[in-house]
Symmetry: C2
Subunit: 313 residues, 2 copies
């Protein structure tokens, strides 16, 4: 287990906030017991916080009712051990507001939201994005993390994000995982004054070192090896950049394999192989990861002695 | 009122099957009484059938619970007067299956489904699309219309569609509204033998004449002026191509205005202006149509004496 070095619940939140995968049985139904074990492992592995219902949680294969079940389960089961971010993205402003209010009522520390998008073509433009986040912010009292990711197909400049940080009360965290994340983090931090409480990165931490150098204070990674990210972030927060860089170089082959070969299956593969969960199944139409990609992931994970392969044994 | 020239419930379904807009009050909540009046108008205006929960129904701003309410309401209120197609698109195979089963149980004539997609980037490839439709088909006993639209960001060749028509039992209708629809309809019809029960077009009927010449037997248009489309389709089905072409030329300025200036708001504007519904509001983050675009639509609609502007008075 990795000890927390400061109160995990103190703001500003910082550190590694991995995405909790949604755990299914082999038949594709929710595995709620496995879900709890995945959460317990992730906390024991040193997560400074958790994020549920993100894209790496396969949020796009869940019904509204399942989202509610999972939100309720995660917040009750975590029970304040670490802060929990709940993803509440929906194209409809009103439905997003409703999801945010429910998350707040159940004890979420923060909500994470992408700008409204649907499919390949339906977008709302900058004025619509601004109005969307303003309306959501006015409805709640916890911070909003804007997720800037390619899947939304919505360009968000550093300057526009900074303006929302300054003008919209609860917009204060940013997960930047578009191309050029480090440069955008710099632009955002430079333009926003005190509005940005948390300039973070995401995308499995694949650009973490550049992003830390740019001013990132948190990273939303995959859920398989928070212990690895703590080995990078603990020295970084202690001011030891050289040690952080060496640790990043050590973990990078595994991070890269997750980012490019296994994607959202990586965390589940590690947890299943380690006996934490019974099935690493993705819900259809997502197909299982290629056998060789799975082997490569486990090889890299064993070399690094990840906790996921030991915790459940 | 436009009289039906043959039993509307006989297969193969053909003619104009417009999309029913989802009707909201000014506060964004569902207007179920307005919804029923919109449906009654659309049937009286000559719709050969209806489609609910499509993109022009703003399906992307609805919760799962609202979809159920609207499906139940539409099928009960239509009560067999015309066949109803229910859109059941979801990225999750299992959730799409569940929606299809519910639609069938409630009396849907057909389900319309896009290949699985999420956002700008998440796609499953041809093998995944095939497996998705095969799984859905195996779970139901009514025809499936595959919707081939740009919003899904998933290229579907005419040959691939034809293969699914031949090999997957219930895949038998196709709504082609991607660029080059006429050519794709020809390729689909040529390659599919008897598998294609309904090669249709969509996209507000903007390419209807070219698509009819290519073999289309149905069109899924906007909901504002089914009476106009009947003026094109009735002579077409009676074998009078010249009269159909003249009618298409007459209606094209309005179709074009809907397609390029007003989009999914057009049907609601006409129904609201005609007193059929109380509010033409789109649900946020969709913004109201520009005032000049609204004026231009009404000018073209009045010139053509559309029923929507008279039916509710």
């Amino acid at each position: 287990m990795v000890a927390a070095s400061r109160s995990a619940l103190a703001r500003p939140y910082r550190g590694v906030f991995p995405v909790v995968p949604t755990i299914f049985h082999d038949d594709g139904s929710l595995d709620l017991e496995g879900q709890k074990r995945a959460i317990d492992f992730m906390i024991d592995a040193g997560s400074n916080g958790l994020c549920i219902l993100a894209n790496y949680s396969e949020q796009f294969v869940l019904s509204d009712a399942e989202r509610e079940i999972l939100t309720d389960l995660a917040l009750k089961h975590v029970a304040g051990r670490v802060p929990v971010i709940v993803t509440t993205t929906h194209y409809s402003t009103a439905i997003c507001v409703e999801r945010c209010r429910m998350a707040e009522a159940l004890g979420a520390a923060m909500v994470m939201i992408m700008p409204p998008y649907h499919g390949a073509t339906i977008r709302v433009g900058e004025a619509g994005v601004y109005e969307f986040f303003k309306t959501v912010s006015d409805a709640i009292n916890i911070p909003i993390m804007i997720q800037d990711a390619p899947v939304s197909g919505t360009p968000l400049s550093g300057e526009f994000l900074a303006r929302m940080a300054q003008e919209i009360k609860n917009v204060s965290y940013f997960k930047i995982e578009t191309a050029g994340a480090a440069a955008k983090l710099r632009a955002l931090i430079a333009a926003s004054g005190t509005g940005v409480e948390g300039p973070w990165d995401g995308e499995e931490g694949i650009t973490l070192m550049a992003d830390l150098d740019a001013g990132a204070t948190g990273s939303m990674t995959g859920g398989g090896y928070p212990d690895g990210f703590r080995q990078i972030l603990d020295p970084w927060f202690a001011g030891d950049r050289a040690k952080a860089r060496a640790a990043y170089a050590h973990w990078l082959p595994l991070i890269n394999w997750e980012n490019r070969q296994c994607g959202l299956a990586a965390a589940k593969i590690l947890m299943q192989e380690g006996g934490i969960i019974g099935s690493d199944r993705l819900r259809l139409p997502q197909r299982p990861v290629d056998v060789e990609a799975r082997k490569g992931l486990l090889e890299l994970a064993r070399e690094r002695d990840v906790l996921a392969l030991r915790w459940g044994r």
